[in-house]
């Protein structure tokens, strides 16, 4: 019992010391901030950031919370940010990899706020659950820019801008390409049977691509969607689902894979079933994302087209930040430019690609 009391006493003392130390240091840095603040406020009157900050002593500090490193696309996205927000361009980047966990991102954003960053950039893991922490950022006066996936918040003023892909447009692009391709092959009036490997159900990419394709496809009554099933954006699931499609239907003309990884799985399944695919094969493969490996698959003649999902968000985000720094307003939703890359041009385009 005695030892227990001693322990509690010890704990209490330690807690006290810690909190004192924290407070003490807190006030110290407050003083530091105050001077910094007054120095800044000398130059500017408005509450928003000052141009002097970028031009003068300090770099613009950007905290970027990334989903993780789950795919080539994601890595290219990260690299684009890292390459844009370098000291040479007047930025300091604080990067945090959330390992696919929303709770990690929330922690990171809280830490960014405490570090007094100028801007917070989030590539959200999930679309939901952002109200609380973004409210904290808002109260601290830090603008938040969302990239890639959209977020679902009760109050739109919680984020300043969103930069990402127009998945619906990507779906339209797929239909447009397919229609042109079929026409060029003289199959425009044939009965065309399509299957779709959907992405993770509920993700923006899945919803946009599925809906975009379905919407434009309605103009072609000779196209039939035999089945849609999710391959969860992974190669292995894509392969499994394709195998089951091949067992159920023996007259598939087109496979729509909502990302490249599932397309690779589908190609494996098709080959294993003794069929062929690609420009010279039986089955047309339409894919999305246009990662480097997709170009390889197109050069190898296995894939017909990949519709780009541009991960190079860095420059666009920097543009927004520059505008905000200059006190201008920015558009809330901003789409990145995206192309369509058919197999015919794959070999010449591949060397020019950054990812």
């Amino acid at each position: 019992m005695k030892s227990f009391k001693r322990l509690v006493a010890l704990l209490a003392v330690i807690m006290l010391v810690i909190s004192l130390a924290a407070c003490g240091n807190g006030t110290k840095s407050t003083v530091g901030q105050d001077t910094g603040g007054s120095k800044e406020s000398g130059g500017e009157a408005s509450g928003t950031t000052d141009g002097a900050d970028a031009a003068g002593d300090g770099l613009v500090v950007v905290g970027f919370s990334q989903v993780g490193a789950e795919s080539d696309w994601r890595t290219a996205n990260t690299e684009s940010m890292k390459a844009t927000f370098v000291e040479g361009n007047g930025y300091q980047l604080i990067f945090d990899d959330a390992q696919q966990k929303q709770e990690n991102q929330i922690k990171a954003v809280r830490n960014f706020i405490q570090q007094d960053v100028d801007y917070i950039v989030i590539a959200p893991v999930t679309e939901t659950g952002w109200d609380t922490v973004l409210q904290e950022a808002k109260e601290a006066g830090i603008p938040v820019i969302i990239v890639d996936r959209m977020i679902d918040v009760s109050d739109d003023s919680l984020f300043t801008a969103w930069v990402g892909s127009n998945f619906l447009q990507e779906g339209y692009n797929a239909v447009e390409w397919l229609a042109d391709y079929l026409e060029s092959k003289g199959r425009a009036d044939e009965q065309i049977n399509i299957v779709t490997l959907q992405g993770t159900i509920g993700s923006s990419a899945q919803i946009g691509r599925t809906d975009g394709f379905a919407e434009k496809m309605a103009a072609y009554p000779n196209w039939t969607m035999l089945e849609k099933q999710t391959g969860e954006f992974t190669q292995s699931r894509g392969q499994e689902v394709m195998e089951s499609f091949l067992k159920s239907y023996d007259d598939i003309d087109v496979v729509i894979a909502e990302n490249d990884n599932m397309a690779f799985g589908a190609i494996d399944a098709i080959k294993a079933a003794g069929k062929t695919c690609g420009p010279d094969g039986d089955i047309i493969i339409v894919s999305f994302d246009a990662v480097a490996a997709a170009f390889d698959a197109m050069i190898a003649g296995d894939m017909n087209v990949s519709i780009e999902c541009n991960p190079l968000h860095g420059p666009r985000v920097a543009e927004i930040i520059q505008k905000l720094e200059a006190g201008e307003t920015v558009d809330k939703l901003q789409y990145v430019d995206e192309g369509v890359f058919p197999a015919e041009t794959a070999a010449e385009i591949k060397p020019t690609r950054a990812y």
Binding site: S3, I14, A21, G47, D118, T132
Partner: protein
């Protein structure tokens, strides 16, 4: 110093090391990241805000580990809790209070079933709770594979109810005065921790928990009902798991299948770093709090540093775990030699 260590038993020695380690790490952080406001009170409070759920989960885990058991279903139970809460409130239109009552009841049932299998059918806790892990994760997906955002007014009021400190405010670079704050979830977590500290230390139930984990044979001879004690421990842990899930959902406000994966391992690591022995009989819930804070501090280091891969958190935890396990075994072997 030497004689003092001898007077102190090894349990306290382990706890002291943990406390010392945390203080040293935190002070080091304040020095290294001085220019980045690491010393702010809010940074310390954020450790609690971000880890409120983990504090509760680690409390329950420590209690289970003291009995010599383990519960690896916690992370999945938390995911299921978040999903159930989101689903009941958003899809079924239930109120926040009944939804909370239902998930706590689900936790109790979950714990009772697992506890019954472990205590009365004498199945390995690892296997039972592994099944529990798969089952809860699976059920989460059965309820919904969609991401459900919680928009219930009362729930959001709980989630966003900041408790501001009247002092310690600081002006940030944007010229905004920000006072330190906590969320109610932190108070609930700390209250749970204190409650279980008292229960384990001062009640008959608490003593029988330690007795069961220390040596089942002698516990039996002391008249402890081993099976009932274990059943109670797992049942309570089930409730704590869902309560942790509730606190977790206050932070994330969403139900999602992928949530809280690996959470159980963080809880176990926190308990072990906090001085709990996986062989049972030894452990302290305050130790597990420190384990949680150490993990949080490492994570904060990584974000403040800004360029390191966040996987370094895992690597550092691994090193710390190895350190503590080796320390424990050294101390244990010394105890055997002396005694």
């Amino acid at each position: 110093m030497n004689f003092r260590i001898k007077k102190m038993d090894s349990k306290q020695f382990l706890l002291l090391i943990t406390i010392g380690l945390f203080i040293v790490m935190y002070l080091a952080g304040m020095v290294v990241f001085q220019d980045k406001n690491f010393g702010k009170l809010q940074v310390f409070l954020n450790l609690f805000i971000s880890n409120a759920g983990l504090i509760v989960a680690a409390t329950g885990m420590t209690m289970v580990i003291i009995t010599g058991g383990i519960d690896i279903s916690v992370g999945s139970v938390i995911a299921m809790t978040c999903m159930l809460l989101a689903w009941m409130m958003e899809i079924k239109g239930m109120g926040a209070v009944p939804a909370l009552a239902i998930v706590l009841a689900v936790g109790l049932v979950y714990g009772l079933v697992q506890g019954w299998l472990i205590a009365y059918l004498k199945i390995q806790p690892f296997i039972v709770t592994l099944a529990g892990l798969f089952f809860a994760r699976g059920m989460t997906a059965v309820i919904s594979t969609d991401m459900i955002s919680i928009k219930n007014g009362l729930f959001l009021k709980w989630a966003n109810a900041k408790i501001y400190f009247p002092f310690g405010g600081a002006m940030n670079r944007k010229g905004v005065m920000v006072y330190p704050y906590l969320y109610p979830s932190v108070l609930l977590a700390l209250l749970t921790l204190v409650l279980f500290f008292v229960v384990l230390k001062y009640t008959k139930f608490g003593r029988s928990v330690y007795a069961v984990g220390g040596n089942e044979q002698s516990a039996l001879m002391m008249g402890v009902n081993i099976r009932r004690t274990k059943l109670k421990v797992y049942a309570i842990n089930g409730v704590l798991g869902t309560f942790a899930g509730f606190l977790f959902s206050l932070n994330t406000c969403a139900g999602f299948v992928e949530q809280a994966k690996g959470f159980e391992m963080e809880a176990i690591a926190s308990s072990v770093i906090g001085g709990a022995l996986l062989t049972g009989g030894v452990g302290n819930v305050f130790g597990s709090l420190l384990g949680v804070l150490i993990k949080g501090t490492i994570e904060t280091f990584i974000t403040f540093q800004g360029t390191l891969s966040s996987w370094w958190t895992k690597i550092t935890i691994a090193v710390l775990l190895a350190f503590f396990i080796i320390l424990q075994s050294v101390l244990a072997s010394r105890k055997v030699k002396v005694g």
